[in-house]
């Protein structure tokens, strides 16, 4: 019998939600690390009981926790993130140079092949890798040092590397995204990088089509078609059919093309989900209606999914790492809100129900499909 395990990071701890394949009755376990910010936790695709969690605090800094039993018990591992060489400067909000300073880990991405290898996307933006199960971390400094780093600048949430996509078809190919620098790709496992932002247009930077400086909120891919990428940018939903070499806007009939999350159906590479947010100055759903939008055509044509979601007086946000899909035959879709709700759909978005309603603000949602 299949089951699913939903890993939820919140402002005040981590929660693990489990159900069988019907996804009707849920067990809620937590909080783990109560009182700490859990930006992200994720399991190894090779060993699903191997979980990694980013635990941080304004007082005590960054911790990395590791579980070997699916989240029942945890052990702290290495938390020393030191930039390679002289860190240099990036742009501050006012355009002046500002030294690179480590603040926290936003995203942990376990290797597709080795449970001991895990990548960490951090603020100030850089990519680190551990090959010993999180005990020690080394920066893949070719990204930060490839040349445009001094022109990167923080978004409102900080200058964070928040998205790491590992290409299942080409082990050396990795896509990452940074707010507000843009998207980057390596073809050689992180030695060298190139910006992949051609086709993006951002009115909040002096040159709207600049090589870097775009506030990319999230990128998603389907593992069967890794050359096709979908992006939720600060404004605009975008698509690339050539591994990021060029992008086309696919916002189509969305009520607003601002938002944070984007994800792809587990079995249908052209079925894409977004949650439109009113604007960059009003981070809540338009008209107080929480609607997931689904495209079955790879963008441009979108349908609202509302059954079971609040359609009045809803003013939560859904943050960039807070949507995920499971891999059961009827694809499950999950997202968490800043109001502490985690919603689940067991029918690819046609209908929704909350798993829990009153968690702390949700920062991230990941799903494991377990056999």
């Amino acid at each position: 019998m299949s089951k699913v395990r939903v890993l939820v990071g919140t402002r005040k701890g981590a929660f693990i939600l489990t159900a069988d394949g019907k996804r009707k009755r849920w067990k809620v376990d937590g909080p783990h690390f109560g009182g700490w910010e859990i930006y992200h936790l994720k399991g190894s695709p090779v060993d699903p009981n191997r979980l990694y969690a980013s635990q941080s605090s304004g007082w005590f800094g960054q911790m990395i926790q590791r579980s070997q039993d699916g989240g029942k018990t945890w052990e702290p591992v290495g938390n020393k993130f030191v930039y390679d060489g002289v860190p240099g400067t990036h742009q501050w909000y006012d355009g002046t140079p500002h030294p690179w300073e480590f603040k926290r880990v936003w995203h942990l991405e376990p290797s597709l092949a080795d449970p001991e290898t895990v990548y960490a996307g951090v603020e100030d933006a850089a990519l680190f890798r551990s090959t010993d199960g999180g005990q020690s971390w080394q920066e893949l400094s070719g990204l930060r040092g490839h040349g445009s780093g001094p022109r990167w600048q923080p978004g409102a949430g900080g200058m964070c590397l928040h998205t790491i996509l590992l290409d299942p078809s080409e082990p050396g190919r990795i896509f990452i995204a940074i707010s507000a620098a843009g998207a980057f790709r390596t073809n050689d496992a992180g030695q060298t990088w190139q910006p992949i932002n051609r086709g993006l247009r951002s009115e909040h930077i002096p040159d709207p089509t600049a090589e870097v400086g775009h506030c990319v909120h999230r990128i998603a891919m389907h593992r069967s078609r890794p050359g096709v990428l979908f992006m939720q940018k600060h404004w605009d939903v975008m698509r690339s059919d050539d591994a990021g070499e060029s992008w086309q806007e696919v916002s189509g009939n969305l009520p607003t093309d601002f938002g944070f999350v984007i994800d792809v159906h587990a079995h249908e590479p052209d079925t894409v989900y977004v949650i439109p947010i009113k604007s960059d100055s009003e981070h809540f759903p338009p008209e107080g209606k929480l609607r997931v939008y689904r495209s079955r055509t790879g963008g441009n044509e979108w349908e609202p999914l509302t059954k079971g979601l609040p359609q009045a007086d809803c003013y939560v946000n859904v943050l960039r790492d807070a949507m995920a899909v499971d891999a059961l035959d009827s694809c499950g879709v999950y997202f968490g809100t800043t109001g502490g709700q985690v919603y689940a759909s067991a029918d690819a978005g046609d209908s929704w129900a909350p798993i829990v309603r009153d968690l702390p603000a949700v920062l991230s949602v990941e799903v494991q499909t377990l056999s």
């Binding site: 304004g58 007082w59 800094g61 960054q62 911790m63 702290p76 938390n79 020393k80």
Partner: protein, 98 residues
Amino acid sequence: MIRIILPPHLRTLARVSGDVELEIEGRVTQRSVLDALEARYPMLRGAVRDHVTQQRRPFMRFFACEQDLSHESPDAPLPAAVASGTEPFIILGAIAGG
């Protein structure tokens, strides 16, 4: 024997309850106390002071004998009552946030 009082989150992280007691060889200073604390509880490295610069994290404070010692030199001797174990060395998080 030096007595150290940790903030609750760090007690949880280090899996200790109550005060921590440590033997310090040589001079008893902030640095020697923190060196011994981190040697006994490696998971606390980086939580009280920076891994590389060894500077106190901005929202951490050090109190002892009703004094705020946060801004003292890390190599200054701690009060004799701390060195003798009569009074604890208190590590706490500043009141901020929620």
